[in-house]
Amino acid sequence: MWVLAVGLLLAHNGYLWLVKGVVPDTDILALLPVQQRDPVLQQAFTHMVDAAQQRVIVLVGADDWEHARSAANAYNAVLAKHADVLQTGMQLSEQSQQDWLAPSQQMRLSLLTPSQQDALRAQPAKYWSDTALQQLYSPFSGPKLGAWQDDPFGLFSGWVQARAQETPVRPRDGYLFVEDKGRPYIVLLMTLRQPAFSMATQRAVLPLLEQAGAAARQAVPSVELVSAGVVLHAGAGSAQASREMSTIGVGSLLGIILLMWLTFRSLRPIGLIMLSIAVGCLGAFSVCWLIFGQVHLLTLVFGASLIGVAQDYGIYFLCNRVSADRKLDSRQLLRRLMPGLLLTLTAAVIGYVGLALTPFPGLRQMALFSVIGLLFAWLTVIFWFPALVSAATLNSSSFAAWFGQTRRHWPLLKWNGASLLALLLFASFALTGIARLKVNDDIRSLQTPPKALLADQIKLGKLLDAPTPVQFYLVRGASAEQVLQREEALKQKLEPLIARHVISGYQAMSSWTPSLQAQQANRTLVTQALLAPDGPLKAVAAQLGEDQGWIRQMRERALSGAASANGGQALTPEAFLKTAASEPSRHLWLGKVDSPEGAIYASIVALRGVDNYANLPLLQQAGEQLAGVQWVDKVSEISSVLGHYRQYMGWVLLGAYAAIYMLLFARYRFAAWRVLAPPALASIATLAVLGLIGQPLQLFHVLALMLILGLGVDYGIFMQEQSLQRDRFAWLTVGLSAASALLSFGLLALSGTPPLHAFGFTMLIGIAVVWMIAPCFSQDSPKEEKQ
């Protein structure tokens, strides 16, 4: 029957890998919990991040404009052939600025910058008449967004310039460009056609970008290419994970084969253990795929470490077979081993269930993958090993014999002075270490992008002065008008922060389309300050030799223009979003969204120049106490979630100790503590070591402690079971098992991915300690000495 089940597994796996050509998911965000409590916030974040995620930006820099252009052309020529993968965004319209800005220009009396509003309130008439005349007489600076008469005081020009200051990017010769210290950079904007986190996309896009870069370098050898995009990071992450998966997987496999060879001097046991592991992995993959519809790459990386646990069952059986009476039938032997085998499986499952209790979808998947993998490996041992292994199959080696003997050298824990001293020493070591233990839940410490990518990212951020997608204000209101009014209240709080250089600026829909209330106020302000009959126009008329009639004419021109503009309608976000000029602002307006309270309106106020994280509290303060305004800091939010679950997992761990203790108590009664003490002490020692070397504690350390419990209990059970049977081969089982666990989990400490490193490092110390101290907790059984 098991043959049939395994056959099915093989077929399903074959189908998935060969027919469907499945590729593992690599989105690291899939490891994070889905934010469900605030759908509007979630939507806002998706709105900001999804667009950013699909974008690739390349700056092509050269010593002069001509070279930059030819390099950019060479780059684009390569990409143009692959428009199905990467869409290049060279959509600079041929329209003149006038056409482009026409909708805003018509409404110019309604549009003022904050500093213009201040000046209109504070400055005397002479200031404005001087401004108007200076622009008239100056040879090279006439207001060229329309006739002078339409904007005599340069207000609209000033407003447009303020909008232009929201980015340093400028069009030039049909390209977008920025300049840095006299060096021109052409900005190439590209959009991925497929999700950035799909490995297929990465495989298609990364070589293409390489190729385009090579073409640019060939055209202009001195070209400087600065690239950024989520896909680059995702690609680097996947490459590293794949690399690690194969090295760690292969490394642990080779180590284990070597160990088996030393112990049994035969290839057969190796084959058998590999068989159980293989069935485990196949089963885990199949079931995960059926349940989740996909398997995350990190699950597979984590799964590589599954080998360490899955082999325990096989080793346990084989070691016992070697040591058992040759006359004993394999099936009878299995029956005798059954309680121990069941206990170890149950304990391991309890350990992994802790992982499954986290709200991280990725971790749940890893937990399920592991539990299923263990179960299938276990079942393979139960069903097939007795049939395939007979007493004649195995021979004990001298290595096995020697190793079994070494247990004698371990001191047993007894009520004596030496034990007390050891305990005291350990306690002082643990206390010093744990006292120094710090915690760090910062999500940023979980990412280590390659240095070059990071440097590019920083440079690009600086050159483009782009708004950050992870920190922004979310503004809500019952109507679009209310949202805009609330934005305006927020902007008043932000202006002083710009003056203090906390931020370099902000982007808001209300800068383009003020609320109706503000539009009205602006018109009133301009009319009163500038268009009054005896206002600044009078001095201008006197200088120009014009009369009252001219003043009236100017006034009427401004007012009737404002009244008839836009078909007599005020400027609204909906209308503005239909114009070409809105393209750079579309990410700001969420518009009408569904929320638990019914349909509401929402928008984003984005910030530029947030480069000092110490300033974040100031920004948070700015949004406080403003109705409908919420400060959103995704980075600290995720970090606090990680912190929350670190604590939460700590309690789960303690709960698991309690649950396993109950389980063990059912079988071992008052000796149950002997099984749990080694992993508990090892965990304490691990925490102390982390404290002493100054590595801050994070969620992944705690997850590893969970696994130390799972494995440590196995060893305790092996020792305990066998000491019941007075068998010295227990030590061999534990030794083999711990050594291979160290090979598989400990090798994760070499990983460059911080979470895996933290996990592996904890396992390395923890398992080593469990292994070393497990024999000390054996019951003092004098009969063993008889051997």
């Binding site: 401004t131 090279f140 060229k144 030039r172 708004p467």
Partner: protein
């Protein structure tokens, strides 16, 4: 990252540059000739008289003052009549002073095209036709010691924004005429030109530092 189109409302020349056309191989014979006629002193100062005729305003707007063009440094344009106003263009900024008040300042850091504007303005005043040729089609004629050049923007959007330019001169540029599409017309003539180290007053020298 968001790419705005640039808005550079303060200057005709800004618009010129925003729509800058590709350089063509065109170089009419007279241009080379004119180029050869022009003296290109490192410092050139003199008086300017400007007349602006604007649509909707009856009287032409007359102004005059002094200007200096210093190679490698920039341009100082000081209107004295009808009221004092100073325009200073250096490598990194354009500053307009109204009396003691800074009426306008454009920084090359914030507005990258500032450098290009300055370059073109410099070429215009110094008569560096080869530079102007990247943006304009030049059509020139030479009679005796004097020359005329008409400049037509190479791109329609630019032509719409600026109209046409005309330069005339001999060893130096003597007049600049700007005919805008809107019908506004500006004529500037230069006189009392001096070159050499004594051309610039100490005050002017300090203003350009």
């Amino acid at each position: 990252m968001k790419a705005h189109n640039a808005f550079s409302p303060r200057s005709i020349l800004m618009a010129v540059l925003l729509a800058a056309a590709a350089c063509s191989a065109f170089a009419a014979a007279p241009v080379d000739k004119i180029q050869a006629m022009l003296a290109r002193p490192p410092v050139l100062c003199g008086r300017f008289d400007q007349s602006k005729q604007l649509v909707g305003i009856k009287k032409p707007l007359l102004s005059n003052g002094r200007f200096c063009v210093v190679s490698g440094k920039g341009v100082l344009w000081r209107t004295l009549q009808p009221f004092p106003n100073t325009l200073r263009l250096t490598r990194d900024e354009i500053v307009q002073m109204q009396g003691d008040r800074v009426a306008m300042r454009m920084d090359a850091k914030q507005e990258p095209v500032v450098k290009m504007i300055n370059g073109v303005l410099f070429s215009l005043l110094a008569g560096d036709l080869s530079q102007l040729e990247t943006l304009f089609e030049l059509d020139g004629s030479v009679t005796g010691n004097s020359w005329n050049v008409a400049l037509k923007a190479r791109q329609p959007a630019l032509a719409k924004a600026i109209g046409t330019l005309a330069l005339s001169g001999g060893a130096y540029v003597k007049t600049v005429t700007i005919n805008e599409a809107s019908g506004d017309r500006t004529e500037i003539s230069f006189s009392g030109l001096q070159s050499g180290s004594s051309a610039m007053t100490a005050e002017e020298g300090a203003a350009l530092e």
